[in-house]
């Protein structure tokens, strides 16, 4: 019997993206540059996060025409962003045929209390997190892939490092707990008990885990891979650099060869300027995107 849209098919596509780089693109031309540079998927959006930051106002789902144009331009999977809690934007993206929806803090949240019930959809979702509890709440709602939130549009990897270390450190801790302690841990992390139990038994998240938010150089990408994520999203870091095609290729190579400093040195040479970065410590909390969602 043929089955579609099952949990293992949703998580399975993320398995295929592992070891790869997912790049933010705003036009079909950029999508093509990303595909030619070896991106394993593209994220179609109207503005990259650093421009969203600069523009201010309410950031929403992209124009369907633009998303359709990108879907037609490339053969790799296409993802697109919906606002946190905006189930109709997600329904529209599903109808357009995107391969994955990112319920993203980079856009202005539509519901400050509830995220989308992602089990209701045929298309799989990826969601951001700052720690394991947040990751498991999203998986509980049906997210089939997780990424760190980092701090998008800053070109500063520090928050992605913080979030990845937090998630992976908590997993190690839970793996070593006495089973008696798991319910209290579920209470403390505000996470579903069944998922805590699963992590205790398997020692890993039940879905693929990527890094995102502030990755701007090949060395940043390799750093996240060495910390233990399974792939990277690069937002503003590519098309806000002085030579996007070269930067895209270099980050793809560094992600594959994340444990080979000679290759990372070679691909980091002569790239021109990376995007201009922002210091997250001097940023007022209301400008920090990672605090959106819970």
């Amino acid at each position: 019997m043929v089955e579609k849209n099952t949990w293992d098919l949703k998580t399975g596509l993320a398995q295929m993206l592992k070891g790869g780089v997912i790049m933010d693109v705003v036009t079909p031309e950029q999508a093509k540059i990303a595909e030619d540079a070896g991106a394993c998927a593209v994220m179609a959006l109207e503005r990259v996060p650093s421009d969203i930051r600069a523009a201010g106002g309410v950031a929403r789902m992209s124009d369907p025409d633009m998303i359709t144009g990108i879907i037609e331009a490339v053969s790799i999977p296409v993802m697109a962003k919906a606002r946190i809690g905006h189930l109709v934007e997600a329904q529209v993206l599903e109808a357009l045929g995107v391969d994955y929806i990112d319920e993203s803090e980079v856009l202005t949240p539509a519901d400050e209390n509830n995220h989308i019930n992602k089990h209701d959809f045929k298309v799989p979702f990826v969601c951001g997190c700052r720690n394991l509890g947040e990751a498991l709440r999203r998986i509980g709602e049906g997210a089939a892939m997780i990424r760190t939130k980092g701090e998008a549009g800053t070109g500063n990897v520090v928050e992605a490092v913080r979030h990845a270390r937090s998630v992976l450190g908590e997993i190690t801790r839970i793996t070593n707990l006495d089973p008696t302690e798991l319910m209290a841990t579920a209470r403390d992390l505000q996470a579903p008990y069944e998922l805590i139990l699963q992590i205790h038994e398997t020692g890993k998240l039940p879905v693929v885990n990527f890094a995102a938010g502030g990755i701007a150089t090949p060395a940043d990408a390799a750093l996240m891979m060495q910390i233990g994520v399974e792939g990277v999203f690069v937002g503003s870091g590519i098309f806000k650099s002085s030579n996007p095609s070269a930067m895209a290729k270099a980050i793809v190579k560094a992600t594959t060869h994340f444990n080979d400093p000679k290759i990372i040195a070679e691909v980091s040479s002569g790239l021109g300027d990376a995007m201009r970065g922002l210091d997250v410590r001097t940023m007022p909390e209301e400008e920090q995107l990672a605090t959106r969602g819970w």
Binding site: E3, K4, K18, G19
Partner: protein, 191 residues
């Protein structure tokens, strides 16, 4: 010899290695082309075929794999791996390795929303169907007469092929807990 190598440029290579290891066979990640000449067999995993092809070209895998294939190295490609093993692709990219006389079309069953599971008839265990996981899967359009069909869907659609010691599957045995396909490949390599 160094066991079975799994091309580890991008994709779900870890799942193949885990399955081979659970069957007691040594398996390792291959990231450099000069590792290939020592191998007993090579697996090209699922992933994005354009990404894997880009990285293969960059690090001189193309000639290394073709040379090893012509000196009779057993090779198995799953999904993206099947695409790369084809002689001919309907699409312009990527350029395949031409290791099997098959004609393949990428993403031919549709986008992610059309990804599906179906039971597969398996030529070497006809009694027990195999769980087929098809993710943005390629379609095998035609095969030459020297290519054997080893897996089909109930409607007869070809989803697994064998030419000598080269195998190609449009589905992902590595994403299931059923290890019969990995055992079949191990038998092909070591018997």
């Amino acid at each position: 010899m160094s066991g079975i190598g799994v091309l580890a440029l991008q994709g779900d290579f870890v799942e193949h290695i885990k399955t081979f290891s659970s069957l007691g066979v040594s398996a390792q990640e291959i990231r450099k082309a000069n590792q290939i000449s020592d191998l007993d067999a090579l697996v090209i995993p699922g992933g994005e075929s354009t990404t894997i092809s880009y990285l293969m070209d960059l690090y001189n895998f193309r000639s290394a794999i073709k040379d090893a294939a012509s000196s009779d190295l057993p090779i198995w490609g799953t999904c993206a791996g099947l695409i790369l093993m084809a002689n001919n692709l309907k699409e312009d990219i990527p350029i395949p390795l031409s290791l099997m006389n098959i004609n393949v079309s990428r993403n031919a069953y549709g986008r992610q929303i059309d990804s599906f599971k179906d039971s597969i008839n398996f030529s070497f265990d006809r009694e027990n169907p195999f769980p087929g996981v098809f993710i943005r899967a390629p379609k095998i359009l035609d095969i030459d007469e020297n290519v054997d069909v080893i897996c089909t869907l109930n409607d007869g659609e070809i989803v697994g092929v064998k030419q000598g010691n080269k195998l190609g599957t449009s589905f992902h045995p590595e994403l299931t807990t059923d290890n019969r396909f990995h055992k079949y490949f191990i038998d092909l390599v070591y018997s």
